[in-house]
Symmetry: C2
Subunit: 272 residues, 2 copies
């Protein structure tokens, strides 16, 4: 998907919501467990219920990988089921030396046909650039993450007065463009979005941490919004596990709708 197409979807749906498909077989409603592929059935119903409210789905690859071959099958079925006009993110946090990153990029962007993959920056340019070589596909590079451990290294002060995550933004933005790179920026530190926007004004930011991780949508929008919107705000558990019975999907829809309506107001106020 191109940047322009993504922006058009945001405007059309009045939403910059990304729904995280962190589908855990131990947490899905028990009645699904009788079915042949409970994980796919869960995702299918979540997608049916929420596809008009969000512009992106983000399967958390660990959850599928932990189920072995069956997990990969459920993942591919899920991906094939997502409508083509919705942006797809393989939340895989991959990255290795060049020839190995090429293999990961092919796995997700070519074979599975995701629109994007999340990528970890620690190994530098040649670990990220292989993900940039696929037309209309994206690398979403970790900058500042919302977990407690994000403080261990990402906020280390480097010389020149910069923190590491700022240096990651500064250096890595030269590897691609705002048409093939985005950044992961944790929403629990919304005020830092201001500093981040000064380094990457035009890039889309994928903001996890709304909902169960404690981020606040209004703050994120206040500091993170740009003239294209420039935000994908993710909620996973807060939406997909809002119910645990036969009505789980309609409960998920209610939660997604709440966020979408907040987003519609934000977009409208910003003239988008």
């Amino acid at each position: 998907m191109t940047k322009k197409e993504l922006i058009n979807q945001i405007k059309k749906k009045k939403s910059f919501l990304c729904i995280g498909l962190d589908t855990d077989i131990k947490k899905i409603p028990p009645h699904l467990l009788e079915l042949e592929d409970p994980v796919f059935e869960f995702n299918k119903q979540i997608i049916d219920a929420t596809k008009d409210l969000c512009v992106a789905y983000k399967p958390n690859i660990a959850f599928y990988e932990s189920m072995g071959v069956n997990g990969w099958i459920s993942l591919q079925k899920t991906l094939d089921y997502i409508p083509n006009d919705i942006f797809t993110i393989a939340d895989a946090k991959r990255g290795d030396i060049g020839n190995t990153s090429t293999m990961y990029a092919k796995a997700f962007l070519e074979n599975m046909n995701f629109d994007s993959v999340t990528v970890t920056p620690y190994m530098g340019a040649d670990s990220v650039t292989p993900f940039l070589e696929f037309k209309n596909k994206w690398a979403i590079v970790l900058a500042l993450t919302s977990n407690k451990g994000g403080l261990d290294f990402q906020k280390i002060e480097c010389k020149k007065g910069r923190q590491l995550f700022e240096q990651v933004l500064e250096t890595s933005k030269q590897w691609g463009t705002d048409e093939n790179m985005m950044y992961v920026v944790g929403a629990t530190r919304a005020v830092e979005l201001l500093e981040i926007r000064s380094i990457v004004p035009d890039h889309f930011l994928l903001v996890p941490g709304i909902g169960s991780q404690g981020g606040i949508l209004k703050d994120v929008a206040k500091y993170g919004l740009n003239t294209d919107c420039g935000l994908l705000v993710n909620s996973s558990r807060g939406i997909i596990y809002s119910g645990n019975d036969i009505n789980f999907a309609s409960k998920a829809k209610v939660e997604a709708k709440k966020l979408q309506q907040e987003m519609a107001v934000i977009l409208s106020e910003a003239g988008l």
Copy 2:
């Protein structure tokens, strides 16, 4: 595998060689392509030919992941085929927020039953510690990598005069012990092993980059060896792709033997 068992294997085999199973279906001998599972057949013959010369095998997970479901099947068959007294490393460079890292840890250490996984440190403590909660299993944390991009961030000078990779060592060694953590240290910068050993004197170091990436075994040993040996030195392409015909495995054995013999001399000179 425990640290003691690993050290015993090193002494018994007079080897600290790790063989990287970066098995690429486009690079294996053509006669294997007629078989049902060419990747597993290749690995099987490599293992048969080299198992007495090495103490560890390191499948590069990207190569299997890029083949979809079939790749994961080949990987599991390969792992099941490796003798139990050989240390196994899932070279996966995983890492995410706590609950997600737990999923990755289960996938590799429990379901697939690897002895260890390589882990990226960018997301900090809670992205690594879930890998430390499995008895006799290991997290192998990236410190200094041998690729060109390793220079982009790992050698950034932080305040206190430390480089980032040194800070990663200093901080992360507190998360576990030298009985459940190792570090990846690129061999193309062997002289830096001296500095690394001053921070982590007792940890095993996994050193890639011997062979096609240009590292030199003697330098690595000179600066990296400790009283337990403390090194696993990896070669991938330099061994497994040394032949491309029906005799590929015996050619791989020749290359592995050369490294093992160098290692035997090094261990003997060190009184190990």
